[in-house]
Structure formats: C-alpha cells, structure tokens
C-alpha cells in the first residue's frame, strides 16, 4: 500500500522532467555528433543562464501569488546602466552592484504600492514597466551602447573557469542559493505561506507586507543583474535588449510549477522549465528545422510535457 503511493508519487512528480528527458534523448539519437556532446551541454547551460537567473526572481514573486511584469524592462535598464557606468570608467564591481541596488529600490516601490494600497500587482508592475522603459529610452537616447566598453566589463559574460562558462557557474550558484532559501529558510517558507493563504499568514502573525515587498525587491534586483550579464556577454547594451526575457521567464516559471505535484512555483522547477525551453531551442536549431517548424514543435512539446505529467493521474 505504502509502496503503491510512493510509486505514484514519482510518476506524478517527475512527469514533466521525464518528458524533457525524452526530448533530449530524441535529439541525441537524431544528432549524436552535434547534440549529445559535452561542448553542447556547456553551450546549453550558458544559453539558459540568463533566462534562469531572471526567472528565479519571477519565481519569488510568483510564490507570493503576485506578478512582476516589469522584469523585462528592468533587465534592459540594468544592462544599460551598467554599460554606461563601465564606459564612464566606474570600477567593475560598482558596475555590477549599483544597478541591482537601484533595481532593488524600484522593486521596493512596486511592492510598497501593491501592499499599501492593495492593488493588483499586474497593473502596477505593467505601469512600472512602461515607466522604466521610458526612462531607459531617455537615458540612452534610444541608442545601443557599445563604444568604449572596456574589455574588463566583458569578462564575466565571456570567461570560462576550467572550461565551464562563468555564466553557467553563476547560474548554478544562484539556483542552489535560492533553492536553499526557498526550501530551507524561514524567509522562503514565509513567502510560500503568504502565497498559499495570505489571510492565514497574516492572522498567524507574519509580517506579510514586509515579505511581499522583499520578494518584489529581490525579483527586480535579479532582473537587473540578468541585464548586466547580458550586456557583458554581448559587449553592448540595447535599450530594449532584456524585454524579450519577460514572457520567457514566466513560461519557465509556469512550466516549473508543473514539475512537482504541489504545483507551487519553485526554483528547481523553474530551472527545469528553462532547461526544457533551452534544449528545445538548441536542439531544433541544430536539427536545422525551419523557423515555423521550430515554433510548432516547441509549442506541441511543451503541451505534451505538461499533459504527460497528468496522464495516469486522477
């Protein structure tokens, strides 16, 4: 009896992961030379690193059952700020730290408005996204920043340590750090408590506002940090360069929610979600299928992955 339950627990919990693995195996069989190589594994981890980091932030905000739609604009802003600072000759450490601090503050404002006035975070952060976009545009005059960016600024985005990209390492450090925070610290548990039942959390004496504001602030800071890494990787900063990450990051988070049966946003789930998206983009490009086919297959496989997890359940 106990065994049966445990067995069901496994198929339930890992259905999405299994689907992801199945896709990987298919690619590996079709293109063993190109896909199933160490170099490509490294390549994929580097490619998903930015998405994973920004999606960690989105996971925090989703865990309190709120939305932050400003992450894309925030990434753009972070990248642009850091690049301008690097061009202006600020020390590297400041270029990487100051924009997240600024972003943290903006996230704080998001969270404060949402909690103080009890308004929908969807509206507030969407409006904030517009404001940030306007600011970035004004700040850059709409132009890409690339001239005179020092080599040192590009280091983080391009360096390898023992053959492993620094970006990959940063990603894993952050994933493990935030997994630990969400799973094994009271801060993380409080976020989940708030997301699970805000009234219950409040009634039992949690400082709901404080933790909600913190979640928004951290999310913004991570988004800005992602933007900086992107600029560092590309050696240029585009005023809307991070915008594309917004929908993708939520796709990763939502896909990640289906990975474990609790159905709550969680860091490893988000990582798996981003990895599935990354493997699909990588594998389908390697297979050199036409663009429209790539879209059709990506969509179909994602649906299959989330459905797979539920089949046989009830």
């Amino acid at each position: 009896m106990i065994k049966r339950v445990d067995y069901r627990h496994i198929t339930r919990s890992y259905g999405t992961i299994l689907a992801g693995i199945a896709v990987t195996i298919v690619f590996a069989i079709l293109r063993p030379d190109a896909f199933a190589t160490w170099a490509n594994l490294i390549n994929i981890t580097r490619q998903i690193s930015l998405l994973v980091i920004i999606a960690i932030g989105a996971t925090l905000v989703m865990s309190i059952e709120e939305f932050d739609l400003s992450v894309g604009a925030m990434a753009s802003l972070g990248g642009v700020l850091a690049a301008k600072m690097a061009v202006a000759g600020f020390p590297m450490i400041l270029c990487f730290l100051l924009p997240p601090v600024v972003a943290f503050t903006i996230g704080f404002v998001n969270g404060w408005i949402v909690t103080r006035f009890r308004v929908l975070s969807f509206v507030v952060t969407l409006a904030m996204s517009t404001i940030i976009g306007g600011f970035t545009f004004w700040f850059t005059g709409g132009a890409t920043i690339f001239r005179d960016i020092p080599r040192s600024f590009r280091y983080v985005g391009s360096a390898n340590v023992l053959g492993i990209p620094l970006l990959t390492i940063i990603m894993f450090v952050l994933v493990i750090l935030f997994w630990f925070i969400m799973k094994h610290t009271s801060f993380g548990r409080k976020l989940y408590a708030i997301g699970g039942n805000e009234v219950a959390a409040e009634v039992s004496g949690l400082n709901v506002k404080k933790y909600k504001i913190l979640a928004f602030s951290l999310c913004s800071a991570l988004a800005a940090f992602t933007g900086i890494l992107m600029s560092s990787r590309l050696g240029s900063a585009h005023p809307t360069g991070g915008d594309g990450l917004f929908l993708q990051s939520y796709a990763a988070v939502f896909l990640g929610r289906t990975v474990f049966k609790e159905g709550v946003p969680n860091i490893w789930g988000t990582f798996v979600g981003a990895a599935i998206l990354g493997v699909l983009a990588n594998g389908l490009t390697i297979m050199q299928v036409p663009t429209y086919m790539r879209d059709l297959l990506t969509g179909a496989i994602i649906i299959a992955a989330v459905v797979a997890q539920k089949v046989g359940r009830d």
Partner: protein, 501 residues
Amino acid sequence: MLLETRGLSKRFGQQYALKQVNLQILPGEIHGLVGENGAGKSTLIKILTGVYTRDEGQVLWEGKEVSDLNPVASRRLGINVIHQDRHLIPQFNAVENVYLGLEYETRGAVAIDWKQMRSAVERIMQELSIELPLNVPAMYLTPPQKTLVEIIRGMMTDCKLFILDEPTASLTDKETDILFDLILKLKQKGTSVLYVSHRMEEIFRLTDRITVLKNGELVSTVQTSEVDLDGLVALMTDNWQSRKRLTERRVGAEVLRVNRLASVDQKVKDASFVVREGEILGIFGLGGSGRTELLETIYGLRKSARGEVVLSGEAYEKRTPRESLKRGMVLISEDRRGQALIESLTVRKNVVLSTLDRYARVGVMDGKREIRDTEGQIRALDIKTKGVNQVVKELSGGNQQKVVFAKALLAEPKVFLCDEPTQGVDIRTREEIHNLLRAKAEEGKTVVFVSSDLQEMLDVVDTFVILTEGRTTHVVKNEDLTSEQVLSYCYAGTREKESSR
C-alpha cells in the same frame, strides 16, 4: 483580571457587530461565550487577537491597556487562538502549519531543522493522543483534521489565554474528549480559556462562567452553576422555546439503494444500505470512517470503483453532481468554504446557484423572481444578512451554513444527503433544521443524515447504518437506542475486521 474589555464596539458599514461590550476573563477560568449566529462572538475574538481593529473601547490585559493590537502582539501577550475559519496554508503539511507564525527551529542559524520540528509536533501529538498524517498537505486534510492541526498549533507555545471558536463543530466524540481533557489540563495549569460553542452540553460540562451575546451586545455574564439550559437559551434568544416537531411519518417505497459501493481511492470499501420515502437514515461511524466519502461517492463527486446506486428504482450509473441534482438528490457538504459556498459572491447568487436554469428564460435571469425567492429563504431560515446582495464572506459562520441549506431547499430534492448539516449553527436554528428535515420526511422526502454529534443523530434519525473503515457493518432501528450501544456497534465492526485478519 486577566483580560477586560471596556465599551468595545465594532461596526461593519452602519451595522454594529459589537456594541459597548464589557467582557471580563479571570485567570484560570474556563469562560463560555454563547449567542445566536451573528451575535458577534467571532468578531469579539478577532478584535482580541488583533485581526480586526476596534472602532471604540479599550482592551485591558492584566490591568494595563493594550493600544496596538495585532496578531503578533496578541500572540506575544500570551493569547493563542483557534479561529472559527480554520486558517491553514493549503500546500503546507501539518508540521509546517503548526509552526506558522512561530520561529522555525533552525540548525546553524539559517537552515530549518525539519527533523526537530517534526519531532516537536509528534511529541505534542503523543501527549494529546492525536493521530494525524504529517506528510499530507493541508488541502487534502478533512475539516476535523484541520481542527486538530490548529489544536496542536495552539499547544506549541505556553499561553495565558486560549481562545477556541467552535472547535468541536465537526469533531467526533473521540476527538472532542481529547480536546476536553486538554482544556481541563490547561485550566489546572492556570491558563484561562475562552470557549465558544453552540453545543450547550459542552458549555455546561466545561465552563465556570458564561457570557451571553445578543445582537452584538453583552446581555450578561453568569456563573455556570447558577443557570440551566432553559435559562441560558432564554438569555440568548427572544421568546423562543424549544419545540421538537413530532411527526407522523409513514415510511413508503424504497427511494435510494446503495449496493456494495466502493470508491476509487478506497476510502469507501463496501457500503450498502436502503432508504425509503419518509425515512431519515443516519450513517454513523468514527472519525475517518469514510462517511463524507460515502456521501460524495453516492452524489457523484468522487469516482466509484465498484457497486451500484439505485435511485427511484432506476440504476444510476455515471454519477455527477449535475445529474444527481437533476434526479432530485442534493448534497449538503461538510466543507462549507471549500465545497458548498462561493464566498466572494452574494447571498442571492449562492442561493440560486443550483437552480440557475430555473430562473432563466432563454438564458436571461429573472432577477425579480430570484430576489423574491431568496428573500423567502432568508425569512424562512432566519438568515442574518444585510440583504440579498451581501457577500457571503461577510456573514457569520452559522448564517453561511443557512445559505447552504437555502440553496439545497430551492432545488426541491427528493433525497437530502446531509453531511454535518448543523455544524456551527445555533441551537435554535439547529432545531429548526431538524424540524425542517422531519417535515420534509413527512412530505415523503428521504434524508440521509451524517453528524459527528451522536446525540443529535439519536434525536433525529429513524435508522442507523454503522460505517467502519469504509464498510457498512450494521443496520439498527433507532428505538430506545443509547449512545453506548451505537458506539459498541462501531467498535464491534472494528473488532470483527481485526479478528478476520
């Protein structure tokens, strides 16, 4: 004086929920708080625990005024509480829910020490002899299990005042006994208890003094020894006298037959019974015996694995709630907030929910008729609400239960499946519901009645079906039956099963 309120008032809109309340709680006493549904009991508790802010008046704790009362501050003062609406985090398991609002146990200052937390909870469970699965998220727990979680939470920290708002609403006798032992132990330790219940025998059994609320006003505080049931009821209600409706019922043709029913999840393993027109059939079992699941399986809310249901002589396969309603069978669910009501909608929209199509012509709602019928139900069941358009969330617990009943009545069913239908309702309404069910039976309707309150069952039902671990074991006529006899049947069922193993 441990706690005192002076001139406490609270308004919702223009309505006073509390008006000039002066409550006094002595150290080490068990203080009963009674009143009809909507009298303001829960509101008073929510003010004392800082969930609501008061509009006027003072709260004094050990003689000193407390100005800034919020849930954290109240807990720090030494007040633990079990609210009427159980407040649990659905995805968290019992251990984590117990620790909600407490400092988590940690190792090395940051990492949560799950093992230590679990063993702390297990220790308390053992002390109280509570059994509870600890790995299951709260959303899969039954209402009584949720109450147990809250009880454990209340016991995690020492407190000076333990407030319980209708803790026994869906507890079975065994769990109730555990709770009472605990309360008496607390009293011995010098802890005060504020105890809210609609079950008067509990009030008389436990309390030292009783405060009566009526329409938000404190009527009086009396010594328990100086008052009897009729006296107390008279204080709570205006000119109301308990009048058990005596009915002449003739049991007619068979209406519902359940034959060797089992649910997919095996909560129901093998249930059979027959119930006829004009009959009130009680299904009784110990906590977790699967009564709720049995009703849900009959109603079509839960998938069945085996067995058959015959309704009005027709085999009823492929059961769904929708089809059940169509065939004249309604379920009054035990889980009010989860399954019975849409809290964010108004009274009117809830009351007509099961009969929407009857109020629509070519899909367009007939608002006038809808309001007329809802108002009819509000009057008939004496639902305390500002009007048909008040949101159900804002009603007191007992009044919410009446809304559930009103919805079921509008569906004009032949068969009532009632799961704890009187939970949280005051004695007057409780009797009205009993009378109503009797009247329905007299009209030839059929009632299947489940309650954890055995005394209530003995009052109401004609026949008992005993359910043990998902199996029906005995059918007994309710003629000169005592609660001991009923319980012995339950245990007999368990024993038989064990001996057959």
